[in-house]
Point group: C2
Chain length 140, copies 2
């Protein structure tokens, strides 16, 4: 890849924000199924048409932008445990990585206008949401 290519970039713009009782990175569980609370996905009114078909009971992927992550990190000790051997970030779910996209698989428990309540979201309060996709019937 040439030097000019590696400076290529795109703009990612939040479509909403997480509203959660989790208030700092240290307190958040590593994965949603490890005991994360319910939380609200609060969509920006400008994308209301895009979220109008989200329904209670549906399983979705929520994509967040982990804006407090360190983007210059390429290897980590998994789960912040120094006894785990250093591992390339693309083989881990570390928040610290070149493009800190968070991937969260959650179930919708309530919809109130442009607010969607979900189970087991490990993102903390204020985290930008950048995309939402359905989990397909094949479970993928």
């Amino acid at each position: 890849m040439t030097g000019s290519r590696s400076r290529e970039m795109y703009e990612i713009r939040p479509i909403g924000r997480v509203e959660s009782s989790l208030h700092d990175r240290g307190a958040a569980p590593k994965q949603g199924f490890e005991g994360a609370p319910e939380a609200w996905l609060v969509f920006d009114p400008t994308v209301a048409k895009g979220m109008r078909d989200l329904e209670v009971g549906a399983e979705i992927y929520v994509f967040t932008w982990l804006h407090q992550a360190q983007r210059d990190v390429l290897v980590v000790h998994p789960r912040d445990d120094p006894t785990n051997p250093e591992t390339g970030v693309f083989s881990t779910r570390s928040q610290d990585r070149p493009n800190p996209i968070g991937l969260h698989r959650v179930r919708i428990v309530a919809v109130d206008g442009t607010r969607v309540r979900v189970q087991d979201l490990e993102a903390f309060d204020g985290t930008p949401i950048v995309d939402v996709k359905p989990v397909l019937p094949q479970g993928r």
Copy 2:
């Protein structure tokens, strides 16, 4: 959300690129498990340390940036079929959406330096790769 908040943006920078026999958007299957070919993930040398632990047999999520997508689209006819009712994009896997992140769950079949060959990747040739994460043992 205030007007100033909705203009917030982040920079997403490719970490590599897809090398595939799929050469245009019309020819690509809608989902990888619908008959997509094998393809190479070609990582930028600057992130080589981050991909060093990717291993043959591992199942991974590949995140792409669908740079040819239309970002002002909020509702679509799913699967480009006009007989399907218009649906909010966050309930579909449409490429056209505010932040066109592609999510691809694939298995690694070969590793050659900073090139990783995977099965069933429906992204077309030249698509920017922005992140890679492991599928967790729980299948999530």
